[in-house]
Amino acid sequence: MYAKDGEKYFIVDSHMHYWNAAPDNWVPGAEQYAKGWIECFHAYQGLGPKETHWPIEKFQKYSEDDLMKDVFEDGYVDVAVFQPTYLKEWYKEGFNTTERNAALGDKHPGMFVANTRFDPRDGDLGLEELRRNVERYGSKGVKLYTAEWNNGSRGYKLSDPAAYRYLATAQELGIKNIHVHKGPTIWPLDKDAFDVSDVDHAATDFPELNFIVEHVGLPRIEDFCFMATQEPNVYAGLSVVIGGLMHARPKFFAKVMGELLFWVGEDKMTFGSDYGIWEPRWQVEGFVDWDYPSDEFSDFPRVTTATKKKILGLNAAKLYDIKVPAEFQLPAEAGTPAAKDDAALVSGT
């Protein structure tokens, strides 16, 4: 919970991690990838305020106590959503697994949502694992990293037949939310790995599922925006947008927020700190204080207290059926729905 100027904000951190990327977890022979991955993440942390930077040793493997303090005690978060990323070709026990997350979550009932993941290239065994994880951890969401390396393959698309089989099974099992994270590789490598058109296809063909595109499709914000305007079940996950731009590049942060509010709308944008990349505290404080910096932005949608309450928690609470106490709720008429006229305009071209 965060309170400022008489307003109370219910905070759902819809995209965060509990990883082990220390050398004790590196796969022999793949050390360079394990090291390269975590150093790349560490460089992202460099885009946050200097006083929040960690030394690489802590960044590789932070403790349970660090997480509980940074996210809940200091970070204002009410409920945090674990988003696992396995990367077992590089990390022996996985980078950030459903099991590792759940073991921490079990100690703190009600504070975490334990998402799981799947990889459509894992065949029948992967489907069984998905089934077991949903039963055991009650997962309502999955995190998909399409650039994961798997047995010689550098990635997959959500529109692949195998991915559709997994999405259909996930839906049967009661999964509602598909968090999609694109990365630098895919098959074939000559295509743009960050392309989001496969999400467009899947969102059309699975209208009962919500597709939260993490990092708002970065580095393909424009493609994501066109797609999200046309698909009612596509959401913008703001991890990296707030963490990577709000402090380091405030002018571009304002432009990106303006575009997202215009194309996607404040009802379909969700805050995620991407912890341990960035601590939530400065992100929550900064976002509540944030507004467009100048008149240059006058033709973008306005940002209200209601906008911020939705983005920081209420939208994600709806996606995950998290009970929000009445004191944090908006009055019934607050805010505006995503602009339907704009959607019609785009789909007509």
């Binding site: 360079q32 990838y33 390269g36 991955w37 150093e39 790349c40 560490h42 460089a43 992202y44 460099g46 885009l47 550098r154 990365g183 630098p184 590789t185 098959w187 074939p188 490598l189 000559d190 295509k191 743009d192 790995a193 960050f194 970065l218 580095p219 393909r220 914000i221 424009e222 925006c225 066109f226 990296v240 990577g244 731009l245 380091a248 590049r249 571009f252 432009k255 990106v256 303006g258 575009e259 215009f262 194309w263 305009l345 785009v346 071209t349």
Partner: protein, 230 residues
């Protein structure tokens, strides 16, 4: 006066023509050229470095290959080697470019086509972003869609942004001369109809915002990777 610095200077100048295809900026201004030397015998050695170990391999390949093509053409350069450092696919990319093997052969079994389509796809984004750069001041000054629709490239006051837009259009084989319409569809080259102009400009604006945001993040990470640690 010595010959060597001149050839080296010319090699640097050649590298200024090489762009990051995603960010649409020269690799020299982005800081991606770590070093460029030319030996007395005319052997050029260029070291490239990128914001992360996991930058997309297709774009990385294009930059290494383009750097080779630019430097080998310089008078006084007899042979060139371009080395991409600190990248997960350094070995494949460096060997592939050195052998002039092409992308498909360099990534055996992992790629099905060369990178021309990918490059063109990002040039079209650069055209959209450039459209916003050129048109935003006109819109701010009150130009209506009907007025914008009637404008040709020759009608717009000359500026670095206009020059850049023309160059990107020309690279794609799109109309780029004075009599060409200012607003065209980057896929077809056809004039944008007046009623489609508001949406076209919205798309141009978000495309520019996307590229600018990427550039911000990439340059921030590059700085963290190569300057804070050294």
């Amino acid at each position: 006066m010595t010959l060597l610095p001149t050839v080296e200077g010319a090699a640097w100048a050649a590298l200024e023509t090489v762009r990051d295809p995603e960010l649409d900026e020269p690799i020299t201004t982005l800081g991606f050229v770590g070093s460029c030397t030319v030996s007395a015998g005319g052997q050029a050695t260029v070291r490239l470095r990128l914001p992360t170990y996991f930058c997309a391999p297709n774009f990385a390949y294009l930059m290494v290959a383009d750097a080779y093509d630019a430097v080998i053409k310089v008078d006084g350069v007899r042979a060139a080697q371009v080395i991409l450092a600190d990248h997960f696919a350094s070995d494949q990319i460096n060997a592939g470019v050195a052998a002039q093997a092409g992308f498909v052969a360099s990534f055996d079994g992992e790629a099905v086509a060369e990178l021309g389509d990918l490059r063109a796809q990002f040039l079209r984004k650069a055209v959209m972003a450039g459209t916003d750069q050129v048109c935003r001041p006109l819109v701010d000054a009150g130009a209506t869609p009907a007025e914008l629709s009637a404008l040709t490239l020759g009608d717009v006051p000359s500026s670095p942004e206009l020059g850049r837009l023309r160059q990107r259009r020309a690279e794609l084989g799109l109309p780029a001369r004075d009599d060409a319409p200012l607003l065209i569809h980057p896929e077809t080259g056809e004039r944008v109809a007046t009623e489609s102009i508001p949406l076209h400009l919205r798309r141009a604006r978000v495309t520019r915002a996307g590229i600018e945001a990427n550039t911000s993040i990439c340059s921030g990470m590059f700085t963290f990777r190569y300057q804070e640690s050294s």
